[in-house]
């Protein structure tokens, strides 16, 4: 390697490290201050804590109802994503395998619908679904996520199914398997990679979604982003507690990411490029 290329590599490394530092620094700042007393934060937010206190976390856990909102977030995300996978994989299979005019139009409508911003729907949406929401707001929210997520998930599955040879379906059909059995026993297991992509993309969206839950959910059914926002609004004067609340809000998804990092990256690159 020439010395010029070597220098280039060093500069790249240097720039990369500085940027990486800048990207994680805000989290670091929040974490450090969550361990400090209010007085120390006001004096110098950059300083390393002189006395470490876990009080902030105890307060934040309680006041933002952390476990309750974590449970709500998990229930809503897991159920919505599972149902989305269930419905959109079947829909995509039907659309990809039935070569008819109507399936082409349905697919076109699904793809076009992805351009509609939620904001263009939310007002009539809330007026129309108010009774449903007040009857069961978590159920309603999951139902809405299935509706809003169908287009992209179906689109992703559709692309994948088009690459599975139809001979496989025909073989199953000759063996006497019904359409449903053939799909769930043979086709669906073959789609594991795209299922992972669909799961991760939807899970990230639903886990972090704010506007729709804000319109739909009540105090008891708050998800993590909602309770974090409300908690921060109420206790932002108590800097330490507010910071602890933010740390708590960030931890679950970061752990999830570090465990499944490979799937995250490949999921997003497949989901985006399709």
């Amino acid at each position: 390697m020439s010395s010029r290329a070597h220098l280039g590599k060093r500069i790249t490394f240097f720039v990369g490290v500085i940027l990486a530092f800048a990207y994680v620094f805000p989290f670091f700042l929040v974490f450090v201050n969550s361990l400090k007393l209010k007085y120390d934060i006001l004096k110098n937010p950059l300083s390393i804590p002189t006395t470490i206190t876990w009080d902030n976390f105890q307060q934040a856990l309680e006041k933002m109802n952390f476990y309750r909102s974590l449970t709500n977030s998990i229930i809503i995300t897991v159920l919505s994503v599972s149902l989305l996978i269930f419905f959109s994989s079947m829909l995509a299979y039907y659309l990809a395998r039935t070569k008819k005019k109507h399936t082409k139009y349905i697919f076109l409508i699904l793809v076009t619908s992805m351009i509609v911003p939620f904001q263009a729907l939310m007002i009539p949406f809330m007026a129309r679904f108010a009774p449903f929401v007040s009857w069961n707001n978590r159920g309603a929210l999951i139902f809405f996520y299935i509706g809003f997520g169908t287009a992209l998930s179906t689109f992703l599955y559709h692309g994948f199914i088009s690459n599975i040879p139809t001979e496989i379906d025909e073989a199953a059909s000759i063996d006497g398997a019904s359409d449903l059995v053939a799909f769930w026993k043979i086709i669906f297991p073959m789609m594991r990679p795209i299922t992972a992509t669909v799961a991760i993309i939807n899970a990230l969206w639903i886990w972090n979604d704010f506007l729709l839950p804000r319109l739909v959910l009540t105090d008891e059914s708050q998800t993590l982003p909602l309770s974090t926002y409300l908690f921060y609004g109420q206790y932002s004067i108590e800097y330490g507690q507010a910071m602890a609340g933010l740390v708590l809000a960030v931890i679950p998804i970061v752990i999830f990411y570090l465990v499944l990092q490979k799937q995250f990256i490949s999921g997003i690159s497949q989901g985006a490029v399709k």
Binding site: G16, A20, Y23, P26, F87, T98, A120, R128, V273
Partner: protein, 289 residues
């Protein structure tokens, strides 16, 4: 016989998802467009009023201000996010041994919802930077950026870049590694400099990644709400309200369902046209392989 089986298949495989999709998306959409031509007050519509709601929306000076602010935000954030994201992608696809750990760091903000990111930066701009600036006499940050409309705009851009560049980086990485190795080797043998290779070979060959990333940032810019709410809350004096927040306020805070929904329809049309325009232009630069 055959048609019975296809009908059965339709019911089994696609009836429920299509029904849910129609109820959740199509019905409110059609309804919403219809309501804008009536005197709908959130509960009932008694008569048709033509274009009254649209006329009223465009007579509202704050709506024009929001449109201008949103347009500026979309353009600047598109440029900034994509420039940074492409740079990050170049760094993590270089031959550095630390590239994977760098990629992990760059991606982390993207995992976290805009609201949480917004309040983190609200703390940084309102408290952390102000206290440091006062200590070290650093004029630029002495007054919180969020109290000044122009600086608050740049604060929004900074947070948006921080949030989305990791995602777009992945899109660009996918584009960069899809370029065939032998093309790059050929250019190296021909003696092309790294910059030349980048400009004349890599970028044209991965133009599709630009189409996608530009589209996603365009759409994201128009739909931005969470960061806006948590970082500036639209302030000072509602001057940093992006269109999403403006519509939300108009309808749900002030109870103007008619104009709120008309503005939402305008937003939809603007997004659709802008996206169509951008994709058409970008597609022209894509090389057919």
């Amino acid at each position: 016989m055959m048609s019975k089986r296809t009908a059965k298949k339709f019911l089994q495989f696609s009836f429920l998802p299509l029904a849910i999709f129609t109820i959740v998306l199509i019905v409110p959409f059609v309804n919403g467009v219809y309501y804008t031509f009536t005197d709908w007050d959130g509960f009932e519509a008694t008569k048709l009023v033509g274009f009254d709601n649209y006329v009223k929306s465009f007579q509202d000076p704050t709506f024009w201000a929001t449109l201008r602010f949103t347009g500026l935000f979309v353009v600047v954030s598109m440029v900034a996010v994509n420039a940074v994201a492409f740079g990050l992608a170049l760094i993590v696809t270089s031959k550095l041994r630390s590239r994977n750990i760098l990629r992990t760091f760059f991606f982390v903000p993207n995992l976290i919802g805009g609201v949480v990111l917004g309040v983190i930066w609200q703390f940084i701009f309102n408290s952390a930077l102000v206290s440091i600036a006062n200590k070290y006499d650093w004029e630029l940050f002495k007054e919180s950026w969020l109290n000044d409309t122009n600086k608050a705009f740049w604060a929004l851009i900074i947070v948006t870049v921080w949030q989305s560049s990791g995602y777009m980086m992945i899109v660009y990485i996918t584009g960069l590694i899809s370029i065939e190795q032998d093309v790059l080797e050929a250019s190296q043998i021909d003696g092309a400099s790294p910059v030349r290779t980048l400009l004349t070979i890599k970028i044209p060959l991965m133009a599709q990644a630009f189409t996608i990333a530009l589209f996603l940032t365009l759409r994201g810019g128009f739909m931005a709400y969470d960061v806006n709410l948590a970082l500036t809350g639209g302030g000072p004096f509602r001057e940093t309200e992006l269109i999403s927040m403006h519509i939300f306020q108009d309808a749900f805070a002030n109870g103007n369902f008619g104009t709120g929904q008309s503005k939402a329809v305008v937003m939809f049309i603007v997004v659709a046209l802008a996206a169509l325009f951008q994709v058409t232009i970008s597609k022209r630069y894509e090389v057919q392989r």
